[in-house]
């Protein structure tokens, strides 16, 4: 039996949502799961917790990276709203946004402050008539075009410490 595989540009939002849910572990690591009791926020957004129980908002679009980014930012803003805190006990609004799209969203490199935004490349495929999702690892160069924000830039330590200082600061 041969596999008939081709890229899909049109997919129903509910199908894409199901694909993302099926691939949560691949996207966010072992133990990643949907946040329970969260009100339905959008067809193309999911509130999740990653492998470290960190709240992450997923925003996805099979075609348009910019739409996925902007939609995710709007929903992230809404989830930080005080109303959600009133309705949900032990509520922690997502502090991270992960954009799932076939290309890097324009303007992504501007982020990096209190609300980290990242991107994973996804491609929806049709495999013998069934939908599948290919998750491509992000190559560093594609997301780091231009100067890095100050807080994300690794700092170079000049070897200016004496041996006594080195000894003192070798442990906490």
């Amino acid at each position: 039996m041969t596999l008939q595989i081709h890229a899909v540009s049109e997919i129903d939002s509910s199908d894409l949502r199901r694909l993302v849910v099926d691939n949560l572990t691949a996207l966010l690591g072992e133990g990643a799961q949907l946040v329970e009791n969260m009100p339905q926020i959008d067809d193309c957004c999911l509130a999740t917790s990653d492998t470290h129980d960190g709240p992450v908002l997923l925003s996805f679009d099979a075609v348009d990276p910019q739409r996925a980014l902007l939609n995710g930012l709007v929903r992230l803003d809404q989830l930080g709203d005080e109303m959600a805190a009133l309705f949900l006990q032990d509520y922690h609004p997502p502090t991270e946004l992960l954009v799932l799209a076939p290309g890097a969203p324009p303007g992504l490199t501007l982020f990096g402050g209190p609300c980290p935004v990242s991107w994973r490349c996804i491609q929806v495929l049709s495999v013998n008539g069934e939908f599948g999702m290919m998750i491509t690892p992000v190559i560093e160069e594609t997301t780091a075009a231009g100067p890095s924000p100050l807080e994300l830039r690794p700092t170079i330590v000049k070897p200016v410490l004496s041996s006594e200082e080195e000894q003192h600061f070798s442990q906490l």
Binding site: G80, L86, G113, P114, T155, V160, E165, H168, F169
Partner: protein, 205 residues
């Protein structure tokens, strides 16, 4: 006893108060009193380790939130000064003009402590400088305490400088407003103490 019908409004007000630090004016409104206002500028040197946790307080957020908090608290006095915080990368070489209070913001881990020490060592050539150190990103209070003690003891031992320990500030959360107000208050007191001992140059706008 409060009318239960008021409870939602009360919750709403409390919630707004707790998140007020999110509403940061990029360009604070200028007070049009007609008189020139004094500007206090505090450089904030960033000793941010490469592994600074994403869920910790981030440098630019700190600068924006603390600037707003300082100016908010200052507005209660008769002639409020303008407070400005200036984020400095670690590589920044200070000039002799920077004789005032310097804030160092560091990641609460060993690398952050070492970066902070290197920064303070480089800046300590001018004797009149005073340093406030603020940490963020510690997984628990014990690590935060050890970072502060390790840095303070090293700076005292090798540089002969007594650090002003400003504690540890977590990422924005329920207690962030109170922590930020406390930090702004301590900075304000440090500034006044420093001014009483030194003739500081101020900028008139």
């Amino acid at each position: 006893m409060h009318n239960p019908a008021w409870r939602p409004a009360q919750l709403h007000t409390e919630r707004l108060a707790s998140i007020q630090h999110h509403f940061i004016d990029k360009h604070p409104a200028v007070c049009s009193t007609g008189k020139p206002r004094v500007t206090h500028t505090i450089p904030v040197h960033m000793a941010i380790a490469a592994g600074h946790p994403a869920n910790a307080l981030q440098p630019h957020y700190l600068v924006d939130a603390l600037t707003r908090q300082l100016n908010t608290q200052a507005s209660a006095v008769a002639k409020p000064p303008d407070w400005q915080l200036e984020a400095m990368p670690l590589e920044h070489v200070a000039t002799n003009d920077d004789k005032g209070l310097i804030l160092v913001f560091a990641t609460a881990n060993l690398e952050g402590v070492r970066l902070a020490y290197t920064c303070i060592k480089n800046l300590s050539a001018t004797p009149s400088r005073q340093f406030g150190i603020l940490f963020s990103g510690a997984p628990d209070e014990e690590i935060a305490r050890r970072c502060q003690e390790r840095l303070a003891s090293g700076v005292k031992r090798f540089l002969g400088i007594r650090l002003h320990e400003l504690g540890h500030l977590s990422a924005p959360g329920p207690d962030f407003s109170a922590d930020l107000a406390r930090l702004a208050g301590e900075l304000h007191r440090l500034w006044e103490t420093h001014c009483s001992h030194n003739q500081l140059e101020v900028t008139h706008t």
